[in-house]
Symmetry: D2
């Protein structure tokens, strides 16, 4: 189903920007896992708007209410459903969207898909706001992974041409990931953030927006997880990552850059480390060979297009009039969503990593 | 399942490099579709090895035998199963692989995954040879798509840094795609091929290999196909494309390049063309907004890592001895698989496009 | 997933007897379908307890709150999530269940499955209360089916050996079904109800319970819907019906009785009726041949075991003490759930019928 | 997909009565499982026609050819595909079926479903012959189960009103099941077989057919396997059992008879046996409570309608002429398929039991 993901750990997102509530139902979690609410709220805060001039000034009260699935803060094994009430909704901003579809948004394609019956307010079910329950689900999965020694973190690898340094694909550390996965606007090299912020501010002042890249790492995964062909680790992660609004590209390890390497460079030589463990000297594979984990860090990138909501006047069509028209999108928007996207990418990675363990027989039904 | 793909049109690949036979079972095809065997064989010939110095000199007799599903060349609606007998197998080349896993291959991860029980001969089920039945399935789907006015074609966009010109994302034509989808080593600009061939030959003489990028277009898809979130067109295509061996990155439209654009550039303005049809002036979206087709050409890229089989000596581990070792891969290998990968990418796109129609209620159960 | 059902129309149930709320998320509904709340509430009222001495005297305020998916009472095509707050909960009744699993209930198997972390209060996620959101989902689907000329109704075919007359499998009428599907304790022959009520009362006074059979019919389904083998209509309906608590048997048409017939009796002869339509003179097939609908009424039965909650003292185990023990279940319970089960069976049939249409390409994505 | 079943252990059946070959692809088997060919052939022999006057005199050479998935008789973990060539095909018997659909067969519904493009010869993909590869797959799964102490066996519980005694639901033994699962026409009480044979012979001489019931038991399953609601053990088994041609009813434990019991009878009291294991004194639940195994024997029944192919003249329609007609089915047919159905039911149970273990995290990916 379009708003559900996963076979063993299934998340189902529901709601829209201006519906009564949005939420997520998570089915298949192991029973007996304590879920710390503070850690969940900390992840949700990283995604929340209104923190910073790089993002929209809209404020959302994103406090999730758990309807079921936890008993005294511990998973029961039954579906965990959490909802977030929608309160701060300014529906009037969106009145004209049914007439004039916004370029770069799903207004027009949703019109075709749903015959005009879709909820247009705030983008409806296509709204980036749906990433809030996704982060909720990711934060739950993250805590289960942590107990298995698996850590997920990401950083803003690039915005509008300004690049952070990349993860060292062999040596990425738990310490670094745990620093990054607590930050708003995480970067490895702090000076990179200044340059990125300057680009975002420039776009904001110009009524424009900019895109970027999030690089994410998952460490602690055992080797041998995953499957060949269509059930490989890349397929699994890509299938959830492309569900994040604005993601237009995903690659693993050297990824697109591998296309420019020679085999003698890109092949990662195996060796036994001092402790008798098999490792690779390089990690162009991003921790995956033949769809199966090597045990080295899993590293991937997701490319985000610039926020389609911009203040500049744009050409579009007037649907009821069947003629060309002009549109100026009003309201408060993010000049760049990439910093807020980092925790969303991590959330997707946490969910995918837990599903990977479950599919690989490495996740018991009880804690 | 790892070797099956699709919900409405399900393909299941089976076999390995040196098993009795390999094949594909296709379930869910509409009944009453005439399948021309010659067109199928033409697609399979594009993928076959041994045609050219850019590829391995191994020859395969890839004549598929249809066991069921066609009656007088027309689909019955029941599963269509086709097999290809394996004949030219030189098992001795692979004897040492159980001891010394090849860097860049799945030998080591398969050892972990299957506890050493997997068929190591020729890479077993991980072999690129499994793309032969994938191309078979794609060629069947392609003929059904053609009757609906949908055309798929691709070209080698880059090899080792030498680039072909890209598809014009708004104007890519049926004529161009139909020229490309008949060629071995398809390129838009013929001079690009010379430069690519030079790079491949250089790698071959050096006992090395090179990677590259395939760009693919699907035209004729109706607008409004697909779904939001996890069932979007990008998710669907990525989930099959990452099943092609050696694919390490996938992007759509401007893709990773969108991360460097501004919103005012990347947003594609809508307009009514002379005939009252909605189109976009640019197509940075690659024909997809919110996971749903716009009706503009669907354009995507797949990045291929360099062939991991190279003739150079490589460091690896000696598994039974638990010590580091050296490996020289013998046998005949492709210095570059990208030209042969183009028809495989197209096949995956044909299967995904037919599945997309079926999921979107645009494919009848009877022709 | 255990609490989700369906590929095209997916329902996900969540919650437990004593959680904050219970609910259902429905994904895949066509857009543009008006859903009348009154009709939904009427179906939910049929299932509600406390109406009658045949059932528990517990009262539930089963008013569903729609969180999303409807706009002005019309489906948007996005997931429809509805919740029911739990208010009348008497947790103290269930304190001892963790020690002394109730015979006939899932207490012991849930203990094994969830390692004791499951929510035991009121049966938790295994509670019959979860049929309330199932009826909600069925009532939504029923209204969409009605616009396609499809009607679903059922009756209590038997309780404790007292039988109602059966549906006439060829002539079951819309009028009859529409009478039955509005009633609490629906029967075809009114005198049957008296006898059944007497049996229930007898069991109630004795602190015991009785089981029974619900027979259900779906009329108006087009011929040719469904699939062979594992995706047949029987498989589809059985896979949801066995999800209703207490169902231990399902059969179609003559069903188990067909085992006692001869082929010459059980084969339903085809004929053209006056209007040129193909019909069968008998309908032992229950409207299904080879997993595919014939166009005749779809008729099936579901067998319900007696309510496992009885007031009599029962032998069981004392889990923490690892010794045998005695248990007397207190609280208010249904001496017979079969009358309340009829609307639940109908709800499951409505959901399955809509899924069947969707899988068969007979349900558009837009009303 | 209609001809595939299972999420973790997926079987895909292909072929038809008169196609080049029929077969099965099994994906998801654990690696490293030795499969004895003799045991597989013994199971296939039980299903083969032509052994006995109770069945058709047609002979089939059902020798399967394994294309892939076994290496030296041991599973590799890659898909196992086995085919059976079709040789003894008498196509002429079926020429008239396109005109005159056989009552009780899928000829008419397939005509609607496939628009007349389906392969009508011998019933095509609807043929009972497809149970041969199903038995193949079951025989593979059975050997894996046996190593885990799980045994499956069945008997002909009834034919045309003549009944065998039933399994003792608490004490059914491995010895009994292992006697039954080697026999053609298995019964518990040998005198029952005589009476059943008499009924079959009577029907045969009269050009008619009779139906019956197969009762099956699975012992050795651990408690705690399975899931609540729609992923329960009943749902899982029913979803594959209704895929066997002619099955019209399925029940578990007391099943339909439970509808006639009181709660105080039907509730199975728990107790600790001498060895500290939890058991139930009775087993009306058939080994399943709340969709989850209790650890007691899993017992179920499948009802088979009488073979629709009979020699008597029958009323039907003449499709091209749009008028009523008469049909006499010629060729060789089974007056009763129930004895040959017993190994098919067992095969389905073996596949479902292995899937159940896999879904419950009780089946490792490596032997």
């Amino acid at each position: 189903m379009s708003s559900s993901w996963g076979e063993r750990i299934q998340i189902s997102l529901f709601g829209g920007s201006h519906t009564e509530a949005i939420g997520v139902n998570i089915d298949g979690l192991p029973a007996g896992e304590a879920i710390d609410e503070g850690q969940v709220l900390a992840q949700m805060a990283r995604r929340a708007p209104g923190q910073d001039p790089t993002a929209t000034s809209r404020r959302e009260a994103d406090t999730p209410r758990v309807l079921c699935g936890l008993l005294d803060g511990v998973t029961t094994g039954a579906p965990l459903c959490a909802i977030i009430e929608n309160t701060n909704t300014r529906s009037k901003d969106y009145e004209s969207l049914r007439r004039l579809p916004r370029p770069g948004h799903a207004d027009y394609t949703a019109f075709l898909r749903y015959g005009g019956h879709n909820d247009i307010r705030g983008g409806g079910h296509f709204s980036g706001r749906l990433t809030a329950p996704l982060v909720y689900a990711g934060a739950v999965c993250r805590q289960i992974l942590a107990r298995k020694g698996i850590t997920v973190g990401s950083h803003v690898a690039a915005i509008a041409g300004e690049a952070d340094e990349g993860f060292h694909p062999v040596k990425v550390s738990e310490e670094l990931l745990n620093r990054l996965n607590r930050e708003y606007f995480p970067v490895i090299e702090s000076t990179a953030q200044e340059k990125m912020r300057a680009k975002i501010e420039e776009a904001r002042l110009d009524g424009d927006s900019v895109g970027g890249i999030v690089e994410c790492a998952v460490i602690g995964l055992p080797g041998g997880a995953g499957n060949p062909m269509f059930d490989g680790v890349e397929n699994l992660f890509a299938s959830i990552l492309f569900g994040i609004p604005a993601v237009k590209g995903v690659d693993f390890g050297a990824g697109f850059a591998a296309a420019y390497l020679k085999g003698s460079q890109n092949n990662d030589p195996f060796y036994y480390d001092g402790g008798g463990c098999v490792r690779t000297r390089t990690n162009y594979a991003g921790g995956i060979l033949g769809g199966i984990t090597t045990g080295m860090p899993l590293v991937f990138q997701a490319a985000f297009k610039p926020t389609p909501s911009i203040s500049k006047e744009q050409d579009t069509i007037n649907l009821p009039a069947h003629e060309n028209g002009k549109l100026t999108v009003t309201g408060r928007h993010d000049p760049c969503i990439v910093p807020r996207a980092a925790p969303v990418v991590e959330a997707a990675a946490c969910i995918a990593a837990l599903e990977l363990l479950a599919q690989s027989g490495l996740l018991s039904r009880q804690a």
